[in-house]
């Protein structure tokens, strides 16, 4: 349970808010690189942390993320002409370079220097992996570029997608770090989904629907272990990593790719869910990529158009199939891991009222995550302390599924498996 004030603190991410300021301490995924596929391609509207922005790629291939609106009379530069090293507003011809600097105001004499007084807010936009990342904080506090492994392996070893989720970022993140729902919400999908089936770990999951949990703080966030009984008195652990503020890494199964998510606030009632799958030791198989493109695992099939919105969404009641629910094919009636999560979280309302919650022991991962977020936001506000998760060392970690002896802390027994080991596959069962 949170008070209304605590809930407001953790869910509001616009300019000037504590959590907004926290998010501005990190590099955040802003677009897929494929959204700006070539020099002078059409600009793309982007809304992040409640700011309307425009992304574009100039004549020389420089990526730009600027205020969406022309400084003259405020029309959207989305209709702008991307040419000759700039973006020109078609209304009166004002032209901006990739830094947001106005370089031409046709109605003013060049000698007047007027255009030099006009500069749109801009943020750096850099390509790392197949993602364009931005940093929206003070320039002098910019952290090193992100080092998440999925973005540093060769492209053919990684698959990234994004989708619109129509609710606040925090309830989406909390769903992502809560392992206890797997045996319920995703029941029926573990052995059917092509990116989950065939794992010995699934057998442990299905034999033991009452896992025990362990939450441990890590330098960048948390490690959340779900343990089930394995043979010989050992434990089968699935260890999720949460890297602050909004990244989860999920333990793989068998030799399937390992994956995770970012949840990036668009505004207080919507977020982007970034989904990745990668294999550290080999290219993805064609059938794995096809499965992801066809909505397998954590990915979705999109509705027509370029919205990045899932085909199953709230406008069609998530294509709920009550017959399938009754027959036990899906537990919720909603098909697919991704929309099972998204649908459940969107049905909480745009910003869930946590004052009405009744949490239980197995929610300690969520409780600890809120605790760490509030502390980090407070420390940043009061002391300017860089929050956990911004250091690349905190990002060079992995989730793991592993069988361990019963008495050892998993952070020690699996310390090698929980960090990035370039070229070596994930620890997986």
């Amino acid at each position: 349970m949170l008070t209304r004030e605590q809930n407001d603190l953790l869910t509001a991410s616009g300019p000037g808010t504590p959590i907004g300021r926290l998010f501005r301490s990190y590099w955040l995924p802003a677009l897929l690189a494929s959204e700006l596929p070539e020099n002078e391609c059409p600009p793309v509207r982007v809304k992040l942390l409640s700011e309307r922005l425009l992304a574009w790629r100039d004549t020389q291939g420089r990526y730009s993320l600027i205020d969406e609106f022309c400084a003259h009379r405020g029309t959207s530069l989305w209709v702008g002409r991307n040419e000759e090293n700039g973006l020109r507003c078609p209304y009166h011809g004002w032209k901006y370079d990739w830094t947001g600097q106005c370089v031409e105001v046709p109605s003013e004499a060049e000698e007047s220097g007027f255009c030099q007084k006009i500069k749109l807010k801009s943020y750096p936009l850099v390509k790392r992996g197949d993602v364009l990342w931005t940093y929206m904080g003070p320039a002098e506090q910019q952290p090193p570029l992100p080092e998440f492994e999925f973005a540093t392996v060769p492209s053919n070893q990684s698959y990234i997608s994004k989708r619109l989720q129509e609710c606040n970022w925090l309830q989406a993140l909390e769903g992502g770090i809560d392992s206890s729902h797997t045996s319920w919400l995703h029941r029926g999908d573990l052995e059917r989904d092509p990116l989950h089936r065939g794992s010995k770990g699934n057998t442990y999951n299905l034999q033991d629907s009452r896992p025990y949990f362990e939450v441990v703080e890590s330098p960048g966030g948390l490690m959340i272990g779900a343990r089930r009984n394995a043979e010989g008195g050992k434990y089968y652990w699935r260890i999720t990593q949460w890297i602050m503020p909004c990244v989860s890494m999920i333990a793989p199964r068998a030799d399937h790719p390992a994956g995770g998510h970012f949840w990036i606030p668009i505004d207080d009632e919507n977020c982007w869910v970034w989904n990745w799958d990668y294999h550290a030791a080999r290219p993805l198989h064609q059938e794995e990529v096809e499965a992801m493109k066809n909505g397998g695992g954590r990915h979705v099939i999109y509705e027509p158009g370029n919205t990045f919105r899932a085909q199953a969404n709230k406008d069609n009641d998530f294509l709920i199939d009550r017959a399938a629910q009754k027959a036990g094919l899906t537990y919720s009636g909603i098909a697919g891991f991704a929309m099972q999560d998204s649908g459940i979280q969107e049905l909480m309302g745009p910003v869930v009222d946590r004052s009405k919650e009744n949490l239980v022991s197995t929610d300690n991962g969520i409780i600890m995550a809120r605790h760490r977020l509030m502390r980090a936001a407070k420390a940043l506000l009061e002391k300017g302390a860089r929050p956990p998760g911004a250091d690349p060392e905190h990002q060079r970690v992995r989730a793991a599924s592993i069988v361990l002896p019963p008495d050892q802390p998993f952070k020690d027994a699996a310390s090698e498996e929980l960090k990035v080991r370039p070229g070596l596959k994930h620890a997986s069962v």
């Binding site: 025990y212 049905l347 745009p350 809120r370 008495d407 050892q408």
Partner: protein
Amino acid sequence: MESESARMTTAAEARFRINAPNSQPRSVKVIALDTPSQRVIAQLAKGKWNRTSFFSTATSGNSIQLKDLSGRAFDLEAEVANANLVVMIASSGENSQAAGIIGEACKDKRVMTTALVLGSEAKTDEALSKTLAQLRPHALMVVIASAEEYIEDMLTALRA
């Protein structure tokens, strides 16, 4: 036509969520398993709680007795019988054998258990292993917390 889900997940509709209590206060027993943990719960007990009781333990052979902060004795079985949740506080490396006795009592009565381990950063891995070995069979959830302040946040979140 807009689907019902689209209509009902708006901020406007969220205003109509019933404004009535949806639960009764939970009975939580917080038990310190060792001396350093007793200091922690003595501080916690000064806060404002709903139906939460704080105890230390005195082990005698295969049984333990609970004592409140004024030293009054309570019967473990009776306290567990009227608990919804038992929270055990342990310090890394200290003797947490009482967890076994408490865990069995909770198992018999089907009461949920959570264990918090404090002070692991100042102790060795072997010390933490020893404590985990004693706690894990008896706690559905184990939290290894770096800061004592977390316990108050956790109890508040659980409506203790």
